[in-house]
Each structure stands twice: as structure tokens, then as C-alpha cells.
């Protein structure tokens, strides 16, 4: 077939998909009546609290490794003493949100897609409709808000733990003085570094929840359909996070 026509068709299909996801997201976010605080609380527990250990461990090891890297890299131009500042800035602006977001994507996007996909396949979503309850308000809205609210908190906690990871390595094996390491960590950190990272966290949380809900709702028939939905949700969430990170970083710091 004509290549122009083919690529035109692909572009149209892509645009239509983007539009559909955007609409799905907006509808999910603003389907607020009736308010369902209990469902929101349950999702905050599921998405936020239960992800805490994974995110904390990720941040700890990342901060520690970062300190080692910067120490040896910095030694090449006699600048090993920048370790605390670079660890802090790198964690807060980039690695905290991105790696935290990716860990949440692995844990949460998959479980949301599996849960909603199973509900779809077993007609529980149809049952919601027959019970005069909009599946969007009952399933999607609490998950989107819970993820958007809790992932920044996870990122904040991860930032602190990551910096402490760097501090542990710095003081235990790189010979830094504890008090001056900490003082140097804070000294060069600007509030925008922290805030931009938290905003990234909120965006990544939204991406994770939207991916999970979208693929769950679109899940095909049978267990196979749910399995495929789960896989697609994780891949979409991870790629979405990395792409959004690039765009947001450009917006925030250029």
C-alpha cells in the first residue's frame, strides 16, 4: 500500500489513542461525586503505604552507589568533596522521582491492571453498572487520586533515605565527616530542586494509575486477557514515566 497513506493512518490512530487516554484521565480525575473517602483511603494504603519498603530500599542503594560513583569520578579532577551536594541534587531532582516512579510502576500498575481486568472478565464491572454505580467513579477515581497524592510523598521519603544512603557510604568508607557531609548536602540544595522532584512524582503517580486502570478496563476475555493487560500496563507506565521525565526536566530546568 501507499506509504504516505499507511503512515497517515498510523498517525491518526495514534492521535485517537492519545485523545482517548486524555479523556479517560480527565473523566477519572473529576468524577468526584459522590465523594468516596473510604475507597480513597484504601487505595492510599495499597499504593502508598505498601510501596514504601520498595521505594525506601531503592533509594538507599541508589544514594549509596551514587556517592561511590561521584567520589571516584570526582577524584579524576580533584573534586571528591562535591559528593554530598551532587548526591543530594541527583537524588532529589532525578533519581528519587524516576527510580521511585519505576518501582511504583512495577508494583502498582500491574496490580491495578490485574485487579480491574479480573473484575472486567468476571462481569463485576457490568454488575457495578446494574447497581447504578459508575465504574469510573468507583474504581478509577480513587486510584488516580491516591497515586497522585502518595507518590510525591514516597519520592520525598526516598529523597531523604537516598541522601542518608550517600551519607552512610560517605562517612563509613569515604572518610567524610558526618556533620560537614550533612551541611554540604543541604547547602547547595534549592527548594525548586525538591519541589520539581515532587511534581514529577505526582505526574509519575498519575501515569502509573492511568496505565493500570486503562489496560485493566480494556482487558480482553479470559485469564490470558488479564495477563496481557498487566504486562501492557507495566510497560506503558515505565515508558510513560521516562518520557514524561524527559519532558518535565526540559520544562523545569531549561
Amino acid at each position: 500500500m501507499n506509504p504516505v497513506r499507511l503512515s497517515g493512518r498510523a498517525t491518526l490512530r495514534g492521535l485517537r489513542a492519545v485523545g482517548a487516554v486524555a479523556l479517560f484521565t480527565l473523566r477519572g480525575l473529576f468524577h468526584l461525586r459522590p465523594l468516596r473517602p473510604r475507597l480513597l483511603a484504601a487505595q492510599i494504603f495499597q499504593i502508598g503505604w505498601l510501596s514504601l519498603p520498595v521505594v525506601a530500599l531503592t533509594a538507599l542503594f541508589t544514594g549509596a552507589a551514587l556517592a561511590l560513583q561521584i567520589h571516584s569520578g570526582g577524584a579524576r579532577f580533584q573534586a571528591s568533596d562535591v559528593v554530598p551536594a551532587i548526591v543530594a541534587i541527583g537524588m532529589v531532582r532525578e533519581l528519587g522521582p524516576v527510580l521511585g516512579g519505576l518501582m511504583v510502576a512495577a508494583r502498582v500498575a500491574s496490580s491495578i491492571a490485574a485487579e480491574i481486568g479480573t473484575m472486567k472478565v468476571t462481569e463485576q464491572i457490568d454488575a457495578l453498572v446494574t447497581l447504578s454505580t459508575d465504574p469510573t467513579g468507583w474504581l478509577v477515581t480513587p486510584r488516580l487520586w491516591a497515586a497522585m497524592l502518595t507518590v510525591p510523598v514516597l519520592v520525598g521519603v526516598g529523597d531523604i533515605i537516598g541522601i542518608m544512603g550517600g551519607w552512610l557510604v560517605g562517612t563509613q568508607s569515604l572518610g567524610f565527616n558526618s556533620a560537614s557531609y550533612l551541611a554540604n548536602s543541604w547547602a547547595y540544595l534549592e527548594s525548586w530542586d525538591v519541589i520539581s522532584g515532587l511534581i514529577k512524582g505526582a505526574a509519575f503517580g498519575l501515569i502509573v494509575a492511568v496505565s493500570g486502570c486503562w489496560y485493566g478496563m480494556a482487558s480482553g476475555r479470559g485469564a490470558e486477557g488479564v495477563g496481557r493487560a498487566t504486562k501492557s500496563a507495566v510497560v506503558a507506565a515505565a515508558v510513560g514515566i521516562l518520557a514524561a521525565n524527559f519532558i518535565l526536566t526540559g520544562l523545569f530546568f531549561e
Binding site: T122, E123, Q124, L128, T130, L131, S132
Partner: protein, 236 residues
């Protein structure tokens, strides 16, 4: 009460419903039979608004069942799904009282839920169990309790006996018949099971090749030519 006129629905090139006309009167119990894959579930989904028909009308109490009328229809509607479709995340009583809890206290809804569970033969100890802890037959009963919890005027049953052994199937048929008679609700049952039809139905409609090939009273069913193949097949 419910009237369907010229309903058409295709998925891509495949036409599933090709001009379905169907009527259910107030307080009538209609059974829709038809072979697997003829579009019985699709018909149901069109009525519920889960699938949009390509063409045709669905009337409820003389008015088209559109975006505005459907919420009111659903408020007086209950449905038993094929696999019960209980919400995994909620205990049985909250499943049964799901709709009630939207407008009354949890305590009160729980009381009614336990009453309805008793009506379908489940004891109060099931109220706090999770759906995953129920057997298939129990789940079906709980699904039935949920369908009737808010005293609906219209009840749909999607293959209520599929997957149950004959004894359990007979019990469920008996329950449904009892409930339909007691409440005077209009009932639509989708089934393959001719025993169900005889137990539950006042009238029968045969869905075949995308349209209703025959509709009539259960009493006249044995003389109806279009049903012979179906009857023969299912009673052997």
C-alpha cells in the same frame, strides 16, 4: 413493560443481532433460549446500556431507554450474573447491601442483607465471609440475594443454572420461581436449560441467527416447530 424493536448489533463484519423484536409484559417471566454464541448476552448488554445498539429501539414503560431513562430503569432493576460477579473486595453482606448502602446506614443495610441472604437459604454466618470463601452454588445464591436486595421491579437472570449440578440447579430454579411469584417482578432469564424454562418461565423466546425465531407460552412450547430441534437436543 419492556419492548424491543428491530434491534441490530454488529461487531466489525460479524452481525450478531439482526432485527430482534421482543416483548415482556408487566409481571411476566420470559425465558430467552438460544445456542451458544447467538448473542443472548449481547442482547442483555444492549438493554443495560453496556453495548450501544447500531439500530433499533428498546422501550421501557413505553419510553425509549436512553441516557436519561436508563438510570431510573436501573434503580428498579436487579440482575444475577452467570458467574455471580460478586465484588471480591467486599464481604458478602456489603455485596448484597451494595445498593442499599447508598441511601441508608450500614447497620440497617446489613440487617436487610442478612434477611435477603436468609431468603436464598444462606445463614447469617455467610454475611461476613468474603466472596472467595464461598462455593460456586453459595456465590450464586449470594448473587441472587444481591439482585433482589432492593426489591426490583425487573430482574434478569443470566444462565442461572449453568455450571451447577442437577440438584443445585433445581434448587436455584425453585428459588427464582418463588422470588418471581412473591415479588410480582418482571423477569427475563437467559438459559440453555429447558428444565429452567419449565420451572421459571411463563413464556419463551428462541433467539436464532440474530432474530427471534419463535415466541410463545411455555405451555405451547412442545408444539412449536422452530423449537423441536432445540428441545430434542437439550432433553436427550
Amino acid at each position: 413493560m419492556i419492548r424491543i424493536e428491530g434491534l441490530r448489533k454488529s461487531f466489525g463484519a460479524r452481525t450478531v443481532l439482526d432485527g430482534v423484536d421482543l416483548h415482556v409484559g408487566q409481571g411476566e417471566s420470559l425465558c430467552v433460549i438460544g445456542q451458544s454464541g447467538t448473542g443472548k448476552s449481547v442482547l442483555l448488554k444492549c438493554i443495560l446500556g453496556l453495548e450501544a445498539p447500531d439500530e433499533g429501539l428498546i422501550l421501557w414503560q413505553g419510553r425509549p431507554l436512553d441516557r436519561h431513562a436508563r438510570p431510573r430503569f436501573l434503580d428498579s432493576f436487579g440482575m444475577l450474573f452467570q458467574g455471580a460477579a460478586l465484588f471480591d473486595s467486599l464481604p458478602v453482606w456489603q455485596n448484597v447491601g451494595f445498593r442499599l448502602r447508598q441511601r441508608m446506614s450500614g447497620q440497617k443495610a446489613r440487617g436487610i442483607a442478612i434477611e435477603k441472604l436468609a431468603r436464598v437459604g444462606l445463614g447469617p454466618e455467610t454475611a461476613d465471609m468474603m466472596p472467595a470463601q464461598l462455593s460456586g452454588g453459595m456465590a450464586k445464591r449470594a448473587g441472587l440475594a444481591r439482585a433482589i436486595a432492593d426489591d426490583p421491579q425487573v430482574i434478569f437472570f443470566d444462565e442461572p443454572t449453568t455450571g451447577l449440578d442437577p440438584i443445585r440447579a433445581r434448587r436455584i430454579n425453585g428459588l427464582i420461581r418463588g422470588i418471581v411469584e412473591e415479588t410480582g417482578a418482571t423477569a427475563v432469564t437467559i438459559t440453555h436449560d429447558m428444565d429452567s424454562v419449565r420451572a421459571i418461565g411463563d413464556s419463551v423466546a428462541l433467539l436464532q441467527d440474530g432474530s427471534i425465531a419463535w415466541q410463545g407460552a411455555v405451555a405451547d412450547m412442545d408444539d412449536a416447530a422452530p423449537l423441536t430441534g432445540f428441545l430434542g437436543k437439550d432433553t436427550t
